[in-house]
């Protein structure tokens, strides 16, 4: 369905007159239909052993299902923003997003090393193109070039590791390598290289410098997309193939990400850089749950996607209220958080509370489960470090809240927002605030997914 819709939209985009961005609404409906087909074709009991597709190159297991579902929902919500007036018109956006979605959805399902390379390149290339889509902005073309260079390097590292893996195991199939690994007890650096390539692409410390620049230079609309979507699919790949990756090297990435993500943004005034570092910090937490192979991974993903969506929607819609820094990233600095609309700021504050880990918000529950599961697996020091870095990160989240408190003395003005965006934001805020209500039900369902 996705494939045919890509082709159809490709041709259709040239035949339609593009005076505004309403073309993307068709895309949103298409993604909704894809989600519907995805849900209706699920039968967890029959998929639990895995269905292999296309000559054992893909395997469709229940491990990846929550992540794919969340990605579809996220992309639907993100696409609805593109039909507002503040986003420049570009008729290539929808095709690129759909192609990227194809890559993202199939990446957790790969079962073969060559397929891994092909799908990662598919996903990465469309993401590079999307970064530089609004080519009127010099910064975004710069971001796109940078992203291309560093992503290409990471793909080369992964390709070399695939050579060594094939040399070692004699097969390209990941399932077979899993079985062979039980009989073959050598320590080799090949899987470490594969993981390093993946971490490079995700933007984890200590290989994170490129991602800070790219997220800063790209327009805010694109940063909202690419700062989460690539990380989601790659971490899902790592979760599904946890046996392939060495725990100790992942520990290194986790330590560095936590320390960098907690310390570096303390001196930042740039909102996008701060959010990029906080994304790195959160994915550091996630690596801990990947290492203990626990359901807390799904919970953390769910609340993080929700929080991320709400945060960026707030940043984008607040761009019309403040004096913009530039056309592409209107709300860039922290002192611009002084705006007339208090309700936008309230949703931002809810996101900040969730990231900090305050009890009624979802961030607390997911951190609780991560800590519990890591304690059960004897990762004591890592859990304490998580707690300390979370407390350090509280400082810059609270700083953002303090900056937004300056707006309490402003006169109340009626500000008109796009109704679609207002609806999306209010639904997301409501989901965020009531997460603890539907959490127990979701936990029951998620237990079956990774067994």
């Amino acid at each position: 369905m996705l494939f045919t819709s890509i082709l159809i939209f490709l041709v259709l985009s040239t035949y339609i007159c593009h005076n505004d961005n309403s073309f993307n609404r068709l895309g949103t409906i298409t993604v909704a239909f894809i989600t519907l087909m995805f849900i209706s074709s699920l039968n967890i009991v029959s998929i639990s052993n895995g269905i292999t597709l296309f000559n054992n190159w893909f395997i469709f297991k229940t491990i990846n299902l929550p992540i794919i579902f969340m990605m579809l929902l996220f992309i639907m919500s993100w696409l609805t923003y593109s039909s507002t007036n503040s986003i420049s018109i570009n008729f290539n956006l929808l095709v690129l997003v759909l192609t990227n979605l194809l890559g993202l959805m199939t990446l957790p399902l790969v079962n073969d090393l060559l397929m891994l390379y092909i799908i990662i390149e598919l996903q990465s290339y469309t993401l590079y193109l999307m970064t530089g889509l609004y080519n009127k902005s010099y910064n975004s073309t710069r971001a796109s070039m940078l992203y291309f260079m560093t992503g290409g390097m990471a793909s080369t590292i992964m390709l070399m590791s695939m050579y060594f893996l094939f040399n070692e195991y004699g097969t390209m199939n990941l399932n077979e390598m899993n079985m062979l690994q039980n009989y073959n007890n050598t320590f080799n650096m090949t899987e470490m290289m594969l993981m390093m390539g993946l971490m490079f692409k995700m933007g984890m410390a200590p290989l994170h410098r490129w991602s800070m620049s790219v997220y800063n230079y790209a327009p805010t609309y694109m940063t909202a997309y690419m700062s989460i979507v690539a990380k989601l699919s790659m971490s899902s790949l790592m979760f599904a193939n946890y046996w392939l990756f060495d725990n100790y090297v992942m520990l290194l990435f986790m330590y560095m990400s936590l320390l960098m993500g907690a310390y570096k943004p303390l001196y930042q005034m740039n909102l996008k850089t701060m959010l990029a570092y906080s994304g790195m910090l959160n994915f550091g937490y996630l690596l801990l749950s990947v290492m203990s192979y626990d359901m807390s991974y799904y919970m953390y993903m769910m609340q993080y996607v929700l929080t991320h969506l709400l945060m960026f929607m707030m940043l984008l819609s607040a761009g019309e209220l403040v004096t913009p820094v530039s056309k592409w990233s209107p709300l860039l600095f922290m002192n611009q958080l002084n705006m007339n609309n208090n309700y936008l700021l309230m949703s931002l504050m809810m996101c900040m509370f969730s990231l900090m880990g305050m009890p009624p918000t979802p961030g607390f529950f997911s951190k609780l489960f991560i800590m519990e599961s890591s304690l059960m697996d004897n990762y004591m020091f890592e859990m304490m470090l998580l707690m300390m870095c979370s407390v350090m990160a509280t400082y810059y989240y609270a700083n953002m809240m303090k900056m937004s408190m300056n707006s309490m003395t402003n006169k109340e003005q009626t500000v008109y927002m796009n109704s679609t965006v207002a609806y999306m934001m209010s639904v997301t805020t409501m989901l965020l605030l009531t997460f603890y209500i539907y959490l127990p039900n979701m936990i029951e369902g998620l237990m079956m997914m990774y067994m």
Partner: protein
């Protein structure tokens, strides 16, 4: 064996370069070391801009040529593959036909050099 090769190849290159550096005489002056411009001294970078269509032709040659070479195995074994093979190759070609339609609609390779000066139009409008 491969690691041996990986070590020997850079060592060979470095050895040859060091040999050149150590054993050669170099009497360089500006005329000799700079780029060759038919005897004239070059004042600036002598790269000029070219039409992007040339680049597009080169780049788009690659996928369409690979498409042709991907159809070759089917052509030789069409009978053995039967209806299934036909459907596969039709699907493959359908994808490529849609991409080609996209390229045609965008007029990606039109090479027009129409140069109209706008000031002429305004002059006639003022006087008529």
């Amino acid at each position: 064996m491969f690691t041996m090769y990986m070590m020997m190849a850079p060592m060979m290159a470095c050895a040859l370069m060091m040999l050149n550096y150590l054993m050669s005489k170099s009497n360089g002056y500006m005329e000799k070391d700079g780029p060759f411009e038919c005897g004239f001294t070059s004042y600036q970078q002598s790269r000029s801009s070219f039409n992007v269509t040339f680049m597009l032709v080169a780049m788009l040659f690659l996928p369409f040529d690979l498409e042709m070479s991907s159809i070759l195995p089917y052509v030789m074994s069409a009978y053995n593959n039967g209806m299934y093979g036909l459907m596969m190759v039709v699907t493959f070609l359908m994808v490529l036909v849609m991409v080609f339609m996209y390229e045609m609609r965008l007029n990606a390779m039109k090479l027009d050099r129409k140069y109209e000066s706008k000031s002429k139009e305004m002059k006639t409008r003022l006087y008529s």
